[in-house]
């Protein structure tokens, strides 16, 4: 295990971020050394904490207390009730986390969920989302989103757009970049020397020879062939409905999907609580739980920390790869 801690950002303090971080520490302790960046007042009462001024202290104290790298916010928080005056602190914590990991004081970044609207209204946050902000902090790099669990890794080539916009948003340039960034990410972050990628078709039965959609014939298939000839182990386009059962999953390291639900249906149906969001393409490891701020249950002690725990485990594993 890495001697450096995973830097965990607090995320939206009125959401479930602080409590799932505390619960994840209680579960993992020294198995996955971490430090939590945020205002200790925002953690659930009774959480054993150790405020540290030097990230290097985290590994020593994390068996007995949650190491907190303190960042003072404008005030305390009421779970479930977002407060715009705290928004700047949320953004600052992300910057601090990126600084720690880029300067070599932390092994990886694991981010708790933010609430975009709160940050827009409270801190003038101008990015479409968490990931885009990190891509900026990482040097304005191209990134892709991967959802990963023990059983499956999926990468959607298009994400939060209407289904009717998918065929036009799915351009050859985008698909090629997603395939290449994923392959590089699997090599560099997952330690897979010769990653195997399976590409889903856009249409049912991958178009069935043009009978139900022609994108596979016209460019997806030729592009995959071309990339395969360059030496990458990439196959497809495959019929999406038969590429996710257990035997099929063993034939690849990641599935490249054409749209959000094509990727999210299989991973959530398989591993709802344990899916982790991984950003590939950044100059550092970044994971996050695959859920939102959940204001409706924040502070009630009922939030499920499974995805956060898996995100921390995966961050540490990826940092060691």
């Amino acid at each position: 295990m890495s001697a450096l801690p995973v830097a965990v950002t607090c995320g939206e303090p009125a959401g479930i971020g602080p409590e799932i971080a505390a619960a994840a520490w209680a579960e993992l302790k020294g198995d996955v050394p971490m430090l939590w960046i945020g205002d200790p007042r925002h953690l659930p009462g009774g959480t054993p904490i150790a405020e540290i001024a030097d990230p290097a202290e985290a590994v020593r104290v994390c068996d007995t207390a949650l190491p907190v790298f303190p960042h003072r916010f404008a005030g305390p928080v009421t779970p479930g009730t977002p407060d715009l005056s705290l928004a700047q602190g949320v953004v600052d914590a992300i910057r601090i986390g990126v600084d720690l990991v880029r300067s070599g004081s932390a092994s990886a970044l694991c981010t708790a969920p933010i609430h975009k609207k709160v940050l827009q209204d409270g801190a003038g946050f101008a990015y479409p989302g968490h990931t885009e902000f990190l891509a900026h902090l990482g040097g304005d790099v191209d990134v892709v989103m991967m959802l990963a669990s023990d059983q499956l890794r999926v990468v959607p080539a298009t994400i939060h757009i209407a289904l009717s916009d998918v065929p036009s948003a799915l351009t050859p340039g985008r698909l090629r970049r997603v395939i290449e960034t994923t392959a590089t990410g699997l090599r560099e972050r997952f330690g897979i020397a010769a990653p195997r990628l399976a590409v889903a078709g856009l249409n049912p039965h991958a178009g069935e020879g043009g009978a139900m959609g022609r994108e596979e014939l016209e460019w997806i298939g030729p592009m995959i062939d071309e990339i395969a000839q360059s030496g990458l182990d990439v196959s497809g386009p495959k019929s999406a409905d038969t590429m996710f059962h257990a035997a099929a999953r063993e034939t690849y390291d990641a599935a490249i999907c054409m749209y959000h639900d094509q990727a999210l249906i299989p991973i959530k149906t398989l591993d709802f609580d344990r899916g982790v969001n991984v950003t590939l393409g950044l100059p550092f490891v970044r994971t996050s739980p695959d859920h939102g701020t959940a204001f409706d249950i924040a502070g009630k002690g009922i939030a499920n920390p499974s995805s956060m725990i898996e995100a921390l485990r995966m961050a540490a594993k990826m940092a060691a790869a």
Binding site: A162, V166, P204, A240
Partner: protein, 334 residues
Amino acid sequence: MHPKLAIIPGDPSGIGPELIAKLLSQDGVTEAADILLVGDAHIWQRGAAQAGCEVTLNTIGEDAIAGFQGLAHLDMQTIAPEDVRIAQTTVAGGTTSLRCLDKALDLAQAGLVHGVLFAPFNKAAMTSAGLNAEDEHRYMARYLGFTGYHSEINVLDDLMTTRVTSHIGLKDVAANIDGPGIERAIELAHATLARSGKTRPHVAVAALNPHAGDNGKFGREEIDVIEPVVKACQSRQMNVTGPWPSDTVFLKAKRGEVDAVVTMYHDQGQIAIKLMGFERGVTVAGGLPIPVATPAHGTAFDIAGQGVANVGATRQAFDLLVRMAGNAAPEVAA
């Protein structure tokens, strides 16, 4: 009612005859229904040999069909034994499939059997033998002279899925989603569940867009088209909910909270169903006046003749047919 079922071998070159032999030797099968095997004696015998099971052919004549009980056999003589080519697509194999299917449908239409189970067909073989239809579902509807709405239903254990669009390009999906189409798919799920014995089934309707459009931010079909249909069905006292984000609606199904999911496009439902139970899925010819079911998998030429085919889906299809055939067709929702 003790149902009477016709069972046909599907394509004789595939795993169908073997599967039926295995089915018949399972516990509880011949007790659950009177079964009429419709097909050539040598096909059934070969299937039994492949499966390593004993199948006793109690061959009866046409005149005895009306009163048959237990396990009986109607000999068809559709293909010479030497023309059966294991793991090959042949016109003769397609002819066997079509002739046995026609006969089983005739018997069902005459009221002599209450449902039809077919082992996997080979579409290419049937097409070369004169299927003359896009698939066997459309063929059966035409053969039965049925002009009402019908559509393939995919079944996994206690979950059914119907879909609003099917074998069309993804770019055409949104334009083909409309209120009447969604309503028909909901009604079909509802009626099929009722026929299988579910009282007050819960039908969940999937959204079209990611996160169900997130309040119109990425797609408005949920607001403009799907929600109004769901509300209209609810006002008819149907237990219908949605639109649900499609990446979590199948978790509800896994937890047993829903009996059917109406999906908007092919892969939305098929990804989840095949992921959850690739070897147990069943296809029902939804909407036809006669219950017809088949395992969802194909002829599996790669393992045909080896005796290793998994009978799970065939058993599921049989059990579902027994339930459907034992219940009268419900009134079609007005």
